[in-house]
Structure formats: structure tokens, C-alpha cells
């Protein structure tokens, strides 16, 4: 298995671990009271902002650890640049990821149209963001293994 394939698998696993652990941490902090209160909106705002920050930092740390483990176990250096195949696969991954997120976004807006509570919209938006991240990594893994 090549560096890029291993990296895609690590990305999928780390995305799942980061999201699940963050949700488990934030779930008990959901404010009581009215679902449409200012506190609830503040909660969802901070949920998305801190998830973004936490996710970026965790991905960087996991990436550094992965590169160190890769160098030790394979005695190879990781590629330092992205060539035409990498860029093509990256484009396809972004396309699929973007498509999934847009579907999620439209469903989230649809939930408001059918008078679902606003927290439903946030849950759908955050979940579609997570799924789109995973789809991006799975797309990369698929194309690195099966070709373009």
C-alpha cells in the first residue's frame, strides 16, 4: 500500500474519531430551556467554530504522527509535492465532497421549510459537513487504489 493510500485511510479514521469524540464532549453541554433560545444558537455557533478549530489542530497532529510512523516503518520519505495525479484525485475528492455538503445544506433548508426546529437544521448541516469530509477521503482512497 502506498503513502497516499495509507494517508487516505488515516484521514477517514481520524475524521470519524475527531467528530465522534467532539460530539461526545459537546452533547452534555447542550443548554436546557427553550430550543429556540439565544443560548441554543450560541451553543450551535460555538459547536461549529470549535469543531473547525479542533478538527484542524487534530488533523495536523495526526498527520505529523503518521509521517513519523511512516518514515520509521517503511524507511521511505513521504512525497513532498503533489503531482498531476494527486491534483486530479484531489479535484475529484473535492467535487464529491462538495456535492454531498450541498445536498446536506439543501436538506437542512428543507427542514426549516417543513417547520422542523432550528436545532434540526444545525444537526443536518454539521452531519453533512462530517459526511462530506469522509466522502472526500474515501474518494481519494478509491482513486488511488483503482485509478482515475
Amino acid at each position: 500500500m502506498t503513502y497516499q493510500e495509507k494517508k487516505s485511510i488515516v484521514s477517514v479514521i481520524s475524521a470519524i474519531l475527531i467528530f465522534v469524540s467532539y460530539c461526545l464532549y459537546m452533547y452534555p453541554r447542550f443548554p436546557g430551556g427553550g430550543l429556540e433560545s439565544i443560548e441554543a444558537f450560541r451553543y450551535w455557533g460555538s459547536f461549529v467554530l470549535f469543531l473547525t478549530l479542533f478538527s484542524i489542530v487534530a488533523h495536523i497532529i495526526i498527520n505529523i504522527i503518521f509521517n513519523i510512523v511512516f518514515r520509521i516503518t517503511t524507511k521511505e520519505k513521504e512525497p513532498t509535492f503533489a503531482d498531476e495525479l494527486d491534483r486530479l484525485i484531489e479535484l475529484k475528492a473535492h467535487r464529491n465532497s462538495f456535492f454531498v455538503f450541498i445536498i446536506g445544506f439543501l436538506i437542512a433548508m428543507g427542514s426549516l421549510v417543513i417547520l422542523q426546529p432550528s436545532h434540526m437544521m444545525f444537526v443536518i448541516l454539521i452531519t453533512s459537513g462530517f459526511i462530506s469530509d469522509v466522502i472526500g477521503s474515501v474518494t481519494k482512497l478509491y482513486h488511488y487504489r483503482r485509478g482515475v
Binding site: 502506498t2 503513502y3 497516499q4 512525497p79 509535492f81 503531482d83 498531476e84 495525479l85 494527486d86 488511488y144 483503482r146 485509478g147 482515475v148
Partner: protein, 74 residues
């Protein structure tokens, strides 16, 4: 996924050039080893620019390295 119809003789040519490794070829043409692996497996059709760089490395015309369609495979 549609089948890749552009084949090549890169693997054979590498061995005929002092058993050049995939990494050595990758370094010469400016791509990663993963791309050479994908090319040899027939999983990727290179850009015209990369195809020319590979041809220059082996000092051969394009059509002696790449072929179109399975029938022309040697």
C-alpha cells in the same frame, strides 16, 4: 469506471535501462512514485507533458512507449 485504453511499456523499458527503479524514473520526470505505479498498472493515462517527459527520459518516440487500445499491446 471506464477502462483505461492507453497502455504503455514503461515497466519493460525501466528494466532495459539498467533496471531503473520506479523512484528513479519518478524523480527524472518530476512525479511521485505512486504515479509511476499507477501508470504501469494501467490505472492512469498521463498528461501529454508527462508522456513527453517519459519519452525523453527513455530517448524514444512516444508511440514506442504508449499505445492506444488493447489490440496494439505487444
Amino acid at each position: 469506471m471506464s477502462k483505461n485504453l492507453v497502455g504503455n511499456h514503461i515497466r519493460k523499458l525501466r528494466f532495459n535501462h539498467d533496471e531503473m527503479t520506479q523512484q528513479q524514473l519518478a524523480d527524472k520526470v518530476g512525479v511521485t512514485r505512486q504515479t509511476i505505479v499507477a501508470l504501469e498498472k494501467g490505472n492512469y493515462s498521463p498528461s501529454l507533458e508527462l508522456a513527453f517527459r517519459i519519452a525523453h527520459t527513455f530517448n524514444l518516440p512516444l508511440e514506442e512507449i504508449f499505445y492506444y487500445g488493447e489490440n496494439t499491446k505487444q
